[in-house]
């Protein structure tokens, strides 16, 4: 070939293609961040893969990539199943590629396999970083520390109005077997995709404006199978929920490990139905407590009445004893008086040999009271005799 003859562009590109094919014939495992994902109607997926400087975040490498429809139809469900995460921009991925150069379309990576574990690991690492940050800031347990309301009746619901889960929740509450009253109000927010964080934070803002109206916040999403939960794993969402002044219950319908939202929430349940049951149970516990107290009061009153009865009975038993004692005391006193009276009695003096003289029934105390011929009676201890006075 004459080297002075200019090459056609095609020829040049073809040279690059052949050189590349010869020099890099293998497949290579490569890590990168998905910066763009575009699915075509034909089922192909075009991606852009980048690498950033870890410290500054500036791009240091970039490559286009293609996942052909036949491969993508297998890889995408596999990736979603393994990671619990849609194949979207922002993810770190590990893919097996062959390096391709096309005369017209240029340089591109042909993706033939993917390792979801790498993405899981990266997501987990990011999650742990966020958890650590929330811990360091001292907010991670704040919502859990809030006292759960005695009666969680006024329920601010954050959900998507179209989601089946919201209806399940409302039906479950309305149809509770006890006839408990609940007041619910929906604060709509998207429950999947990139708008989740913004939507839930805005809804929390609306609730916070009338905090006194609500007892509890419930964040629910129906349909267990949906996979993309990374939207519930962001710092701002977790931080807002952790610091929210009302207890938050989550029921976002999934089965893998807790999302960050679940971790910071006051109480986490699996489904909207379970969230409703939780509220009904809390009310039922109060109803049971009231019933217990009603019984306790009845028992206490019965006991108090019985105690009064026993007291009365004791009094009645003590009465005859007390009466007898009293009588005895009086009797003793009488005996004493009798002795004293007896000690002072004239009979005792008469017995000593003294006598008493009466005249006309009156005691004679002086000889001047006696006239001649008077009849006097002399009283002695053992009787009396009558005499006539013959000499004055």
């Amino acid at each position: 070939m004459n080297s002075n003859e200019p090459l056609t562009l095609y020829a040049l590109n073809n040279m690059v293609r052949c050189t590349l094919n010869d020099a890099m014939p293998s497949r290579y495992w490569v890590t990168g961040e998905l910066s763009e994902v575009r699915e075509t109607t034909a089922g192909h997926c075009y991606i852009e893969l980048v690498q950033r400087n870890e410290a500054t975040g500036e791009l240091v490498a970039k490559a286009r990539g293609t996942i052909w429809a036949r491969t993508y139809a297998l890889l995408r469900p596999y990736f979603v199943e393994e990671t619990g995460q849609n194949f979207v921009a922002g993810l770190k991925i590990l893919v097996q590629v062959s390096v391709d150069f096309h005369e017209l379309y240029g340089f591109a990576l042909d993706v033939c396999d993917i390792e979801p574990a790498f993405t899981v690991g990266d997501m987990e690492r990011r999650r742990r970083q966020i958890i650590k940050r929330l811990e360091d800031e001292g907010v991670i347990g704040l919502n859990k520390e809030l006292p759960f309301p005695m009666l969680p009746q006024r329920v601010a619901v954050i959900s998507s109005p179209t989601a089946a889960g919201y209806d399940d929740f409302c039906d479950q509450l309305a149809a509770n077997a006890y006839g408990f009253v609940f007041y619910t109000h929906l604060f709509p927010s998207p429950m999947q995709g990139a708008k989740v964080e913004e939507g839930i934070i805005a809804a929390l803002g609306s609730i916070a404006r009338n905090l006194d109206l609500w007892d509890v916040v419930v964040i629910i999403r129906g349909g267990g199978a949906t996979s993309d939960l990374s939207c519930f794993d962001t710092y701002d969402l977790a931080n807002n929920c952790a610091q929210f002044p009302l207890p938050i219950i989550t029921g976002i319908g999934h089965h893998r490990d807790d999302t960050l939202l679940d971790i910071v929430a006051h109480t986490r349940v699996k489904t909207p139905t379970a969230a409703a049951e939780l509220l009904v149970h809390a009310m039922a516990a109060q109803a049971a407590y009231i019933e217990t107290m009603r019984r306790d009061i009845a028992d206490a009153v019965r006991n108090a009445i019985a105690a009064s009865g026993r007291h009365l009975h004791t009094l009645m038993q003590r009465l005859p004893v007390a009466t007898a004692l009293l009588m005895q005391r009086h009797s003793h006193r009488l005996d004493l008086w009798k002795q004293q009276v007896e000690a002072a009695s004239p009979k005792r003096i008469l017995a000593m040999g003294y006598s008493i003289t009466t005249c006309n029934g009156k005691v004679v105390r002086s000889v001047k009271e006696i006239r001649q011929d008077a009849t006097i009676v002399t009283h002695l201890a053992d009787g009396e005799f009558t005499s006539r006075v013959y000499d004055e």
Binding site: M150, L151, Q153, R154, Y178, G179, F180, V181, Y183, H185, F187, P188, S189, G199, A202, S206, N210, L213, M283, Q286, A287, Y289, I290, M293, R294, D296, I297, A300, V301, N303, A304, I305, S308
Partner: protein, 72 residues
Amino acid sequence: MENKKELSYGEAIAQLEEIIVRIQESNTDIDSLTSLLARAQELITFCRGRLTEVDENIKALLDEFSYEAPQH
């Protein structure tokens, strides 16, 4: 009755607990038993009502709130 309206559920429960203790522990005389029992009955009715009866005040507040709530 007016001040019963202002009573919160938590306060009512606390009053009930106090009444139980008073009946159980002190030498409450029979005369005050009657009034304690009447009060307890009132409180129980109030608490039960809070669980199962629609509070029109709350409803009205929420309706008003819903009306003002921004549409997303």
